[in-house]
Assembly symmetry: none
Homo-oligomer: 142 residues x 2
């Protein structure tokens, strides 16, 4: 692996972005959500800076980037430790909500696919599309 380790000056902005990501735990956010957060807080950070900070944090392994496409744009998520790798996501096709799913069934899926189908699933990239409970309720009431 030949890549140049990014420089990492400590600035107000870089600190704030990392702190904010960490404060979210394992919840994921988009760039525009991050930007809005700092605007609301009264300490706006330029979008360009956010993009560049996130890029650095990704290459440092501090956060993870998901390209779920579908409108909203990329999502970023803080990496707390090693345990955070084992997650799948559900995305509602109606409301766009991205649901973070932690469930032991998923270990079973992973094990099964590998054992029976020789397929090693990438939990980071895999997203289950469908309809969330809230939107299903709404539809039933129509």
């Amino acid at each position: 692996m030949t890549y140049t380790r990014p420089t990492n000056y400590k600035t107000r902005q870089s600190q704030h972005v990392l702190d904010y990501m960490a404060s979210l735990g394992d919840r994921h956010v988009t760039v525009s959500q991050i930007a809005r957060h700092f605007i609301d807080k009264g300490a706006a950070i330029g979008q360009t800076t956010i993009y560049r900070q996130l890029e650095k944090l990704v290459s440092l392994g501090r956060i993870r980037k998901y390209t779920h496409g579908e409108g909203g744009g990329a999502c970023y998520q803080y990496v707390a430790g090693i345990a955070c790798v084992e997650h799948f996501h559900l995305k509602c096709e109606d409301c766009g909500e991205l649901i973070h799913l932690d469930c032991e069934l998923l270990d079973e899926i992973e094990r099964h696919l590998l054992a029976e189908h020789e397929f090693q699933i990438n939990a980071l990239k895999t997203v289950f599309y469908g309809k969330c409970g809230i939107c299903r309720q709404k539809e039933l009431n129509t």
Copy 2:
């Protein structure tokens, strides 16, 4: 499953898009590649039309959409066979192979997500990303 079947007039453009997708077998293409194809052929189709046709074909299950993200934009791929509605798909991130998975575990996943997480999965749209057996072998031999 309650969704409104899209209308499907037979027009020159709609026919050409479907025929072209089918002619590619399981290779995937982007919208701009499709557009270029028809321009080169001397029978250009408006980009808007291509987008709208692809959207219909996706909802009919005739083609599949991948949001690889990473610049290029979404990829589309023809789905051969009607039986594809009944199962899930695995896509190898290394070789791009699309694997059709027929396995009772999937019913279980579907049931579990609905019962425990109130989430109704859409099998047409959901793709499991990961690494296929062949590519895993290759990697192990390196």
